[in-house]
């Protein structure tokens, strides 16, 4: 039961990331492709924020000194995350590889592609490494999403969180997101192929310092 659940969880999550973080695409030669998202790194790093609400909260706190965002809004997002115990209920651990949080998504991509949700394109460099990965959302997928997704209660959480991540970090490239995540000690110090530990306590401490309240 657990495996099959995990399978579907990964499929829908990755699809939603591709869907929400992609930009409109128009090619008169291929009208079937309507949106596009560049680089796998971006998917992996956004996935990390989605799977670790405490890290998302920490990154929000790190934005405060810039004063570009509404403090109160950030505060209320973090309060909600902790009130709903998301760091425990929603957490899906991720391992650290050479370039930060990473989990193989080839099967998920293959699934999504074979059923016509996305089209995956890539190039290879001279060392034959795959580079420049592009993920296109098909017209079929967009229609299905627009039609069905709004009726799905439990998936709403993903949609809302994606919106939030997009609001604050939507402009970040995969590399920028990676660099941002490396700023965090716990993340940085995690060894290769180890799970990245949670930072709830740190968030609580900073929150208390910033807002004078306990989470």
């Amino acid at each position: 039961m657990e495996e099959i659940i995990r399978l579907y969880k990964d499929r829908i999550r990755i699809f939603l990331i591709i869907y929400f973080f992609s930009e409109d695409f128009h090619d008169s030669n291929n009208l079937n492709l309507v949106r596009v998202l560049y680089t796998e790194t971006r998917i992996q790093k956004i996935d990390f924020l989605l799977r670790n609400p405490d890290y998302f909260a920490l990154e929000l706190l790190n934005l405060l000194p810039e004063k570009k965002h509404d403090r109160n809004q950030i505060k209320s997002i973090i309060i909600d995350i902790f009130k709903n115990r998301e760091p425990e209920i929603r957490r899906l651990e991720m391992e650290k590889f050479f370039f930060g949080a990473y989990e193989d998504i080839d099967d998920v991509i293959a699934f999504l592609e074979s059923y016509g949700f996305i089209v995956f394109k890539s190039k290879r460099n001279i060392e034959l490494n795959v580079i420049d990965k592009q993920y296109y959302v098909t017209k079929f997928a967009k229609e299905k999403t627009d039609k069905i997704l709004s009726e799905m209660d439990s998936l709403k959480w993903y949609i809302d969180r994606c919106e939030q991540i997009k609001q604050y970090f939507g402009d970040y490239t995969g590399t920028q997101l990676k660099n941002m995540q490396y700023e965090e000690e716990t993340y940085r110090n995690t060894s290769y192929k180890e799970f990245i530990a949670d930072v709830q306590e740190k968030v609580k401490t900073i929150f208390k310092k910033e807002f004078g309240e306990n989470l």
């Binding site: 039961m1 969880k9 929603r90 016509g116 079929f140």
Partner: protein, 682 residues
């Protein structure tokens, strides 16, 4: 005193005894009454070291040295190995009364006992080498005493009886004891005379040394008198004096013709003598230091009333404070364990929520990805246009059997339903616990508030300040007392001479009918006055006696006797007990339980002194074989627990020497001296 006289006269008038001030004063001699107070002297005897040497009849040398510490000292050795003898040697040194077995007594040649009173060191040295016992009391530490030439000699005596007297004076002075008297028939067979007997220091010593032989008598013949002095309650002295006077007068009235036996001295001479005595008394009493002493006494008296009031507040606040601490402790620990339980359940809910989310997600995303057809080959990236297989349980791509989605869905929905139900149950439980926690928290807040208030009350209580003041006055009084010692002794002497003269004069006047009437009136006046003072004492000492009853009951319960539920101390200091709902006397208590009750009594008297500052017990107890009582295990455990408790609370304030053969009593206190099986103590 004036107020008392007025009250007393009213009491007399009610009984048709109209009497003027002068006459009343003549009968009661109230002006000779010095107020006494139950305030603790704060003094204690601390035994420091005992040494004795000698030679046994088998030629073995005795060279016994034993140091004692403050707190509880336990001497463990088999029966008949000399424990009791050690205690008896101490008794001998401290009182001059030798109750050792005669053979053991003859073995011992010299005894040295080092002790301190109020941090001042003293050493007793007794030499029995020659037929005449010689004894010396030094104001020097035992290690520094030089028998040959020590200047710090308080007294020296060359006979046993002289030593008894002098050591009695010494302790009486140190602890402000006085010899309460009573009357008894002259021991001469044909005599009808009454004799005045006095409680001696060795009688007092019965309240220090609880010998194993008298476990089942409460406090000896003169017991309640010792109790009275140990408590030092107000009016005890005057009650005692009046009682003796009453006995004498009754006696002389009873033997009317006894007058003949008295050599009549001329009335004139008696009056002259009386006049002289009164003049002497006057001159003593007008002495400036004497006056100062009296006014200090009065000051101390009024301070005492204040102390008593504030002590009541202090002790009730302290009790409540203690109760609150216990309540807080209890409530907090229940709250904390509930919080723990709640945390555990909340973790469970988190797990359930995860599972529920997963299942819902599965069901919804399953719907999202349902009815799909393969459009692209995942292997070669070519588009595929393939009809779906007819077999529902077969994969479109690889034709392997698959579990139908519908089956999966049903199974998952069922699981979702179960989990949701469990979650609701647990959440309800959490809510219940939260309610309980909130009630407890409210209690805790209330208790904490009350505790703070009480702490303020305790802090603001002037008890300590008053006690300090009273202590200073006591000190001054003691100093003055030393100075006035001679004149006080002289005063006492004169007072008793005066009483004798008055008595003789009254006998001379018995002749006339009028005078017989007067003499007859006297016992009545005395009787009523005695009653009056006894009631007064009881009334004014109620709080002290109640404290004592409470302390005693606590100790008795600690000793494993829950069947005793109340202690009653009456105005004549008889103690009674409610056991199993029936009121009984000490003698009615089962033999196996008497010792505990007795121990409880003495420990309470000492605690009363330490905790509440009342009473005059020297805070030294010597208990021989307390475990001998045929007790259940509960008693031994209770005794041990009580001793540990006393050690923890009062180790620096009292001293208890315990001799026992019960090896179970080992390792409960620091200061213990264990002799192996069959080994002699000396």
């Amino acid at each position: 005193m004036k107020k008392l006289t007025i009250e007393l006269k009213k009491e007399l008038e009610i009984r048709d005894l109209v009497i003027d001030d002068n006459e009343l004063n003549q009968i009661l001699e109230l002006n000779e009454y010095a107020a006494e107070l139950p305030i603790a002297t704060g003094k204690r005897i601390l035994l420091e070291e005992l040494r004795f040497v000698g030679i046994k009849n088998n030629g073995d040398k005795i060279d016994y040295v034993q140091k004692f510490t403050s707190g509880i000292n336990i001497l463990i050795a088999d029966n008949l190995k000399g424990k009791s003898s050690v205690f008896k040697v101490i008794k001998f040194a401290l009182t001059g009364r030798d109750s050792l077995k005669s053979d053991v007594s003859s073995w011992i040649k010299t005894i040295m006992l080092g002790f301190s009173i109020a941090d001042k060191s003293y050493t007793i040295f007794i030499d029995k080498t020659s037929s005449r016992m010689s004894s010396t009391l030094y104001s020097t530490n035992i290690d520094q005493v030089n028998i040959e030439y020590d200047d710090n000699v308080i007294f020296k005596s060359n006979t046993k009886s002289d030593y008894e007297m002098q050591i009695q004076d010494f302790f009486f002075n140190r602890f402000s004891y006085y010899p309460l008297s009573w009357t008894q028939k002259d021991s001469a067979k044909d005599s009808i005379e009454l004799r005045e007997a006095k409680a001696s220091w060795s009688t007092y010593f019965k309240s220090i040394y609880l010998e194993s032989k008298d476990t089942n008598s409460f406090y000896g013949n003169q017991g309640s008198k010792i109790f009275q002095i140990l408590l030092g309650l107000k009016y005890t002295k005057i009650i005692n004096k009046l009682m003796i006077k009453r006995d004498f007068i009754k006696n002389s009235l009873a033997k009317k013709d006894g007058i003949n036996n008295i050599v009549l001295v001329g009335k004139e001479d008696l009056l002259n003598e009386l006049k002289e005595i009164e003049e002497c008394l006057d001159s003593i009493r007008t002495n400036s230091e004497h006056v100062k002493f009296q006014s200090l006494k009065e000051l101390q008296n009024s301070l005492f009333m204040e102390i008593q009031a504030s002590s009541m507040i202090f002790s009730s606040s302290s009790n409540r404070h203690y109760q609150l601490l216990a309540e807080l402790d209890n409530n907090r620990s229940i709250r904390d364990s509930l919080i723990k339980e709640k945390d555990g359940l909340e973790k469970e809910v988190v797990k359930l929520k995860r599972k529920i989310n997963d299942l819902k997600e599965y069901l919804e995303s399953g719907y999202f990805f349902s009815n799909l057809t393969i459009k692209m080959c995942p292997s070669c990236n070519h588009e595929i246009d393939m009809p779906s297989t007819n077999e529902e349980h077969e994969c479109n791509l690889c034709q392997k059997p698959v579990v139908s989605e519908i089956e999966n869905k049903e199974q998952f929905s069922e699981r979702l339903k179960q989990l949701t139900e469990t979650k609701i149950i647990i959440e309800t439980k959490i809510n219940e616990i939260e309610e309980k926690i909130s009630v407890l928290q409210n209690n805790i807040n209330d208790f904490e508030k009350e505790k703070l208030d009480i702490e303020k009350t305790i802090q603001n209580n002037d008890y300590a300040e008053l006690s300090q003041k009273s202590e200073q006055i006591s000190k001054q009084l003691n100093e003055l007392n030393e100075k006035l010692k001679q004149s006080t002794e002289r005063e006492d002497e004169l007072i008793s001479q005066k009483a004798i003269l008055n008595y003789k004069l009254s006998l001379q006047e018995v002749d006339s009918d009028d005078n017989v009437g007067k003499l007859n009136k006297k016992p009545d006046v005395l009787e009523i006055s005695i009653d009056y003072f006894i009631n007064k004492r009881f009334e004014e000492s109620k709080s002290i006696l109640t404290s004592l009853e409470d302390l005693m009951l606590n100790e008795i319960h600690a000793f494993g006797l829950p069947s005793i539920t109340k202690i009653h101390i009456d105005k004549l200091f008889n103690i009674e007990y409610t056991q199993n709902g029936i009121r009984i006397k000490f003698g009615d208590i089962a033999e196996g339980e008497q010792l505990r009750v007795k121990l409880a009594f003495y420990l309470s008297i000492i605690q009363l002194d330490i905790q509440k500052n009342y009473g005059k017990h020297p805070r030294l107890l010597m208990i021989d074989s307390p475990a001998k009582e045929e007790g259940d295990n509960k008693y031994l455990e209770g005794l041990k627990a009580a001793l540990v408790d006393i050690e923890n609370r009062y180790a620096d304030k009292l001293q208890i020497l315990i001799g026992t053969a019960e090896r179970n009593m080992s390792d409960i206190v620091r200061s213990q001296f264990i002799y192996e099986a069959d080994q002699y103590v000396f």
